[in-house]
């Protein structure tokens, strides 16, 4: 157990760096789609919710697990759709270069 926490810490540390580096030079124009896109990515919470509900044993756990799944699914599909729609607005950008 204890060892795995350390492993997870290594992972968290690296993930934080990656997240930071990836965003570090983004134009203001893309702040909103990027916020929405990263919103979509934490929709991975649905995976955790499925497992939690799948392993729930009492009715209370079932109920809370169901709430978790519904909310997770809302997050993931809504987040995806909103991002796609926002980015579709930028699609006319084709003409004008933009970042390399």
């Amino acid at each position: 157990m204890a060892a795995d926490i350390w492993t997870a810490l290594f992972i968290a540390l690296l993930a934080a760096f990656v997240g930071y580096e990836v965003i570090s030079r983004v134009p203001v124009l893309l702040h909103t789609p990027l916020m929405s896109g990263s919103n979509f990515i934490h929709g991975i919470v649905l995976v955790g919710a499925i497992v939690a509900l799948g392993l729930a044993t009492t009715p209370l756990e079932d109920a809370i697990g169901l709430v978790a799944v519904v909310m997770g699914a809302l997050n993931v599909t809504g987040g995806y759709m909103v991002t796609v729609r926002i980015l579709a607005m930028f699609d006319r950008s084709k003409g004008k270069g933009g970042a390399p």
């Binding site: 965003i23 519904v70 993931v76």
Partner: protein
């Protein structure tokens, strides 16, 4: 057998994480952004599907029902919502993620309260997830207009808020210590309350920063849940949650800072100063407002060589973008060069103006950044400001002004300036704008949609 299945599932998670990162990377450049989200979406779908194959799951019917309700609901809602309601949509879906994280933590704590490491991590995830869902819902209500978007400032709020937070977390810790799940109830109630109290005093205009911060928080909550679950049922899926969550946590935190910086605020200022509630700064301004009527304004523009249109928040609330497009088309038909000057924080979310104008069908190569267009104002006959205020306020050049240091569009250097707004309303920062009193400035009063509409009919008449 199970081991191979587990290996296959893990492989999918590793690939999914890889694609998430690449997707996020792609999303930070305009030309690759769409590809990025589509790939990330495919990876997510895969990750969710393989999770059903995880060993030991039951309750499949409930899971399907839950995924179906949430999935279809989210899909439908996100499709039908109007483009202008996007910020509150993002807030809402983000809140859902935080709620899900809080609920997962609850299930975990109900089942395994005795494993102290896991429960502590779950508790932390529950704290952050609860704040995120409650706060996001308030943000949603404010932006949607179902609640006043003015800051709501309760008495002694710093003290009360802190007390709610501390007592709430105290209940949670007590539950872990006495191993009694009942105490999780007041814990959740108080934490949700804290999320509400934290967000109430924040004005609607600051919401993009707030949403971004809650977005980062949800990421961290998801990461903590993943942490807690790694040794339990989730196995390596837990790592996928840790990575995706922390990734978003870090990226979102940075994004929050960048956003706040772009509008010349600090994050703590956003959260703790109840900006806009009381502020009413600004030196007394000399001079007079000189109105102009639509007919004269139309003539001035029609005979100009170059017109630069500067849209702002007022254009967005009035939904005037279609009319603006018509106006631009008519002017161009008369041989006038029309350009749009887009300030990065014009409107109420980053990229707001680009999104609206692009939606109205205005070609992207007529939209110019601050840096690209500022030099052109002196050679411009008419600068037409539609519902913008702070982003054209020369007070930004004056030390001491609350706007000081914000990069602005130098509209005042144009030969003539026509400003459309409804009356004497101030901008988001609440600062007087002496641009409106300058000799070369005329005021075209009225709601942006109506006013620009009138310009359009005048121009049509003239043809």
């Amino acid at each position: 057998m199970t081991s191979y299945v587990q290996d296959a599932i893990n492989a999918v998670y590793v690939v999914a994480v890889l694609v998430f990162i690449l997707g996020l990377k792609a999303m930070s450049g305009p030309s690759t952004a769409r590809r990025g989200i589509v790939y990330a979406g495919a990876a997510m779908l895969l990750a969710v599907v393989v999770t059903f194959a995880s060993p030991g799951l039951s309750n499949f019917l409930l899971i399907f029902v839950g995924v179906a309700i949430g999935g279809l609901g989210g899909w439908y809602w996100a499709r039908v919502v109007k483009m202008t309601a996007m910020p509150q949509m993002v807030a809402m879906f983000n809140g859902m993620g935080g709620g899900s994280a809080a609920a997962i933590a609850a299930v975990e704590m109900l089942g395994h309260l005795s494993d102290l490491t896991s429960s502590s991590l779950s508790l932390a995830g529950a704290v952050i997830g609860s704040i995120s869902i409650a706060g996001s819902i308030i943000a949603f209500l404010k932006l949607q207009g179902w609640m006043t978007s003015k800051p709501i400032v309760l008495p002694a709020r710093q003290v009360v808020n802190t007390a709610v937070l501390v007592v709430g977390v105290g209940f949670g810790l007590y539950a872990l210590v006495v191993l009694h799940t009942f105490w999780l109830l007041p814990f959740y109630v108080l934490l949700l309350l804290y999320g509400i109290l934290l967000t109430l005093p924040i004005g609607g205009a600051d919401m993009p920063v707030v949403i971004s911060l809650f977005n980062a928080l949800t990421g961290i909550a998801v990461g903590l849940d993943g942490f807690a679950l790694v040794n339990g049922p989730l196995g390596d899926a837990g790592y996928a949650m840790v990575i995706a969550g922390v990734l978003v946590g870090a990226a979102g935190s940075l994004l929050t800072l960048l956003m706040a910086k772009a509008m010349n605020r600090s994050v703590s200022n956003v959260f703790f100063s109840a900006f806009g509630a009381t502020e009413e700064t600004g030196a007394a301004v000399q001079g007079q407002l000189k109105p102009i009527d639509a007919a004269d304004a139309a003539i001035q523009m029609a005979y100009a060589n170059q017109v630069i249109i500067v849209p702002g928040y007022g254009m967005a609330v009035a939904q005037a973008q279609q009319k603006v497009k018509e106006l631009a088309d008519l002017l161009e038909a008369k041989g006038v060069t029309v350009k749009f000057a887009i300030h990065p924080v014009a409107g109420r979310m980053p990229g707001h103006m680009n999104v609206l104008l692009a939606e109205a069908g205005i070609s992207y190569d007529k939209l110019f950044d601050r840096d690209e267009i500022n030099a052109e104002f002196p050679a411009t006959d008419v600068a037409f400001v539609i519902g913008a205020n702070d982003v054209v306020n020369p007070a930004a050049h004056r030390q001491g002004s609350p706007l000081y240091g914000m990069p602005i569009l130098d509209v005042e250097q144009a030969k003539n300036v026509i400003v459309n707004k409804r009356g004497q309303g101030k901008g988001f920062a609440g600062v007087e704008n002496d641009l409106f009193y300058r000799d070369n400035t005329r005021m075209l009063y009225g709601d942006a949609q109506t006013a620009v509409g009138k310009l359009v009919s005048e121009l049509k008449k003239a043809t």
